[in-house]
């Protein structure tokens, strides 16, 4: 029997279980897209029948980092850009947990860009939601890695001379095995995508378009959006890297011309997750490592018996 009874239990859970009591109430600005992520995540967790005790939600710093204050589950509000290394180690330590990491575009594509690239490359079995509002929100409106060229802010008064990050293409190149984009203004699709992302065994990257009505007034509010899977204009195979790459490039170009495309872009269901790879080569135990510390019958090895022979 598992030492963690919450993991794998089959009781029904509804969305309200993931909502705290009266306090704390979200402190996001009126009209903020972050509400959409919270709602989609709660809906997805309930639909998947997860319990608050078997989920670990790791966030970074910024408006997005407050997500786990308003979501009932185990949470780790980490430091700017560092949610991924913390989340992926927790998953390795206890593969029974459902691990979700979340951060903003500055957090995920800027300061944490290196971790993003490597977590995707390693294909950890987890979901990464990036709140992409093309601006730094909590520090009051500076240019972010996804802000378009020419974007003016107090720190880029002449307008940004930098090309924005192309998150979907970057994710594919880095090695993520599930890549989608959704938007806060599209709650049904958002929930469905997060359900799929959590169910996917591997690194799932969801670029979540979240409007910032306070600091990014000039930006499109991502409406009207087009769901590429629902539209007859876009026909491509999400299992095919090249077709997915072309579609991503088109989507990323189109966004800056005012057309918002969302949907699933790439799904590789065959590639084993990092944990599976590590188990297959004998670098990770079959049973969740964390459980061993709760197993009174486990016989712990001693260095004296294992290694000292070679030092005699």
């Amino acid at each position: 029997m598992s030492a963690f009874s919450a993991i794998g239990e089959e009781t029904e859970h509804d969305q309200n279980e993931f909502t705290p009591g009266l306090e704390p109430q979200p402190t996001w600005c009126p009209g903020c897209g972050d509400f959409g992520v919270l709602k989609a995540l709660k809906g997805a967790a309930a639909e998947l029948g997860l319990s608050p005790d078997e989920m670990l939600l790791c966030t970074g710093i910024g408006c997005s980092g407050k997500l786990n204050s308003y979501f009932e589950s185990y949470g780790f509000h980490t430091i700017h850009g560092r949610s991924l290394p913390i989340a992926r180690a927790a998953k390795l330590a206890n593969p029974g947990l459902t691990v979700v990491a979340a951060g903003g575009d500055g957090d995920g594509y800027g300061i944490g860009g290196n971790h993003f690239m490597h977590s995707a490359r390693e294909n950890h079995d987890m979901t990464y939601i990036v709140f992409n509002n093309e601006i730094f929100g909590l520090t009051k409106g500076q240019t972010s890695p996804t802000s378009p060229m020419g974007h003016k802010s107090k720190t880029q008064p002449h307008g940004s001379a930098k090309q924005p990050i192309r998150p979907l293409s970057l994710s594919l190149t880095s090695g993520a095995s599930y890549i989608a984009r959704t938007a806060a203004v599209n709650p049904n699709q958002a929930k469905e995508i997060i359900v799929e992302a959590i169910e996917h065994d591997g690194f799932s990257h969801v670029d979540f378009l979240t409007q910032c009505p306070t600091w990014n007034k000039d930006a499109r509010q991502y409406v009207p959006y087009i769901d590429i899977q629902d539209s007859d204009d876009y026909d491509f195979d999400t299992n095919d890297r090249r077709e997915a790459a072309d579609m991503m490039a088109e989507t990323e170009d189109a966004l800056h011309e005012g057309t918002v495309l969302t949907g699933r872009y790439y799904v590789d269901g065959d590639r084993p997750s990092y944990g599976q790879e590590k188990r297959a080569i004998g670098e990770m135990p079959e049973e969740p490592l964390a459980e061993r510390y709760f197993d009174d019958d486990y016989e712990w090895e001693r260095s004296y018996d294992l290694f000292l022979e070679k030092h005699r």
Partner: protein, 630 residues
């Protein structure tokens, strides 16, 4: 200290197998019943560049490299040759000879591999030989190695010659080679060993240097400080490590990575040191005993996750293997310059445990203590040591490691306890309660029923919700900070102390030191007392919480104290004055920061010159910094 000792220095080029050869040789000497201590000196290069290893062997316990040495085996650097005159590396292939003569003792032996090394390039070589009564033996070890095997086997030839000249029983080497080498290379190596031995027996022996005879009263193992730290972690139930390679921390990382999968643990080599420490936090948060570590520059990157561990009360052990700084400094040379870095790095009031083991055996025990305190008190613990301790091989009684494992996760509640535990109105477990015993508010582990809470680096209420409430802030700060005082009380109440005294109980003078200088200082203390001075030492290992009472009693018991450490800014002396709040007039410093560790004679001379004779130190090897007001 004993006069009857062999200090064997093997010098050659990096990549010539100096380290592995000396390791086997040291083990053979240990098996023959001797106490051994090795000292490694190597450049920040992979192939080529002068490197040496020293092995001190004696019938009595040895705790330092000693002063100089009495047997030099010089092999020449086969990778260093650069035909162009005036090239950057110049005539480096000769360095193993000319760089090593200054410290060779009078009457010492020099074995020259004439296949590569030419004594005529050393200015005044013959005069110096005569002056110092050195005994020079030239053999073409290179040709011998080539004849029976490969050039790299000239190490074996050198060992064979050493056995003949120093009176070492060849069988000890044969036994070890047989254990360690695959059959294919064993045969030529044994032939080379024998040929070299016979060759050296055939020449006339003029020297008076030989290996002593000894006997151990219990079984010994040969371990480095890095081995001991890794084994301490494993025995304390650590099953997760994440790291990024950096000299000299890489040694611990490598040992753990090779052994963890064998015991069902996980090792992760990751993208950078920020990630490494963050992974250790993630694994620990999820209920596994975890560690990470680095050396100075890499540890600098870890200051962010370290602070997060303090604020979220996530247990973790970090090891910091010091090398000379600032920045990338001297990558392969020892220094004790990261003490303040480790004590105070990261924002806010620091709130951590820092141990600085002094010996290989302490590296094992204190790593275990670091883990058990980290998990009981939910606080980061750091083990800080230098390149010298990490790399030196010393014999330790095998029984020292014959200890029971301790996988206890510390202050974690069971699901039954969680069901009864206080929860916040939001539904979260009150993970960070205000008034708890010893400041420890028990943890829950993700996946445990009724245990979910929010861990955050922001100030937070008992269930983890972010809060700027002033009253809660003070409660939480006081509780977190009180853990360090409670740890001090636990350490004081424990059997034995991490601080090691040496010398007579009543003494006029004191030497205070920390970390890997311990053995060298203790040897110096013995010599000083033999010479009629009245000196004792205290070697301190607890850096935070600081052992205020023990150090104060030590300072109070003597007239004057010399603080010996390997850095330029007297960091440990500064810490002592800060923690004790006084004694500025009683503490002066003897410092060394040229990339080489202290030798006992430097401490003896430094003490006599500065403290007793009030004179100034000649040369630049060591430096004296007087007490405040002097």
């Amino acid at each position: 200290m004993t006069d009857d000792e062999l200090i064997w220095r093997i010098a050659g080029g990096s990549g010539d197998g100096i380290a592995s050869t000396s390791q086997n040789f040291a083990k053979a000497l240990m098996r023959s019943g001797l106490h051994v201590f090795t000292h490694r000196h190597y450049p920040s290069r992979i192939r080529g560049g002068h490197t040496y290893t020293e092995i001190r062997a004696s019938a009595d316990p040895v705790e330092s490299r000693g002063d100089g040495y009495n047997f030099l085996l010089t092999l020449g650097d086969s990778f260093a040759r650069n035909p162009s005159e005036g090239a950057y590396y110049g005539d480096e292939e000769q360095k193993p000879l000319y760089e090593n003569l200054d410290e060779l003792r009078e009457g010492g032996v020099i074995v020259v591999d004439e296949g590569l090394v030419d004594t005529s390039v050393v200015e005044d070589f013959d005069e110096r030989v005569e002056e110092n009564n050195w005994h020079v033996y030239e053999f073409d070890l290179r040709s011998l190695a080539r004849e029976y095997g490969r050039e790299v086997m000239r190490n074996t030839a050198g060992v064979g010659v050493t056995c003949a000249l120093a009176g070492i029983d060849r069988e000890w080497i044969v036994e070890l080679m047989t254990d360690a080498m695959p059959e294919k290379i064993l045969e030529p190596n044994l032939e080379i060993l024998d040929e070299a031995y016979e060759m050296a027996m055939d020449v006339e022996h003029t020297h008076d240097v030989s290996v002593p005879e000894g006997e151990h009263d219990e079984e010994q193992v040969l371990l480095s400080g890095s081995d001991a730290i890794a084994y301490g972690a494993l025995d304390e139930g650590c099953r997760f490590i994440a790291g990024y390679p950096m000299t000299p921390w890489t040694e611990v990382f490598t040992i753990m990575s090779q052994n963890l999968p064998e015991v069902g643990g996980i090792s992760e080599q990751v993208e950078d040191e920020i990630a490494a420490a963050a992974l250790a936090l993630g694994a620990s948060h999820a209920g596994v005993k975890a560690m990470s570590g680095s050396s100075g520059g890499g540890f600098a990157l870890m200051s962010e996750p370290l602070g997060l561990a303090e604020m979220t009360e996530t247990p973790v052990v970090l090891v910091e293997a010091m090398r000379a700084g600032p920045s990338t400094g001297l990558p392969t040379k020892p220094e004790q310059g990261d003490l303040e870095h480790v004590l105070y790095t990261s924002q806010g009031d620091s709130n951590r445990v820092v141990f600085a083991p002094s010996t290989v055996s302490e590296a094992y025990t204190q790593t275990r203590t670091a883990f058990s305190l980290a998990y009981e008190y939910q606080i980061p613990a750091i083990v800080i040591y230098d390149q010298k301790l990490g790399g030196e091989l010393v014999n330790v009684p095998a029984s020292h490691f014959d200890e029971e494992p301790n996988p206890d996760l510390g202050s974690v509640l069971t699901e039954a306890e969680l069901a009864e535990a206080p929860h916040d109105a939001s539904g979260k477990y009150n993970r960070f309660q205000h008034n708890v015993e010893k400041g420890i508010s028990p943890r829950s582990i993700p996946g445990q029923k009724d245990g979910h809470f929010l861990a955050t680096g922001n100030e937070h209420m008992p269930a983890g919700h972010i809060s700027e409430d002033p009253e809660n802030r003070v409660f939480q700060m006081d509780r977190r900070m009180s853990r360090v005082e409670n740890i001090r009380a636990d350490l004081d109440a424990a059997e034995g102390s991490n601080q090691t005294p040496h010398g007579p109980e009543e003494a006029e003078y004191g030497i205070l030191t920390w970390g890997s200088n311990q053995g060298t200082v203790f040897e110096a203390i013995d010599r000083l007392n033999d010479d009629g001075y009245s000196v004792k030492a205290l070697s301190v290992s607890d850096m935070m919480p600081y052992p205020v009472d023990e150090v104060e009693a030590f300072i109070e018991s003597v007239d004057e104290v010399l603080v010996v450490e390997m850095n330029a800014s007297a960091q440990f002396r500064g810490l002592t004055q800060k923690e004790l709040g006084r004694y500025g007039e009683q503490l002066s410093s003897l410092l060394k920061y040229n990339g080489n560790p202290f030798e006992p004679a430097e401490i003896v001379d430094g003490f006599v010159t500065t403290i007793v004779e009030n004179d100034t130190l000649p040369g630049t090897e060591t430096k004296f910094v007087p007490a405040a007001g002097d």
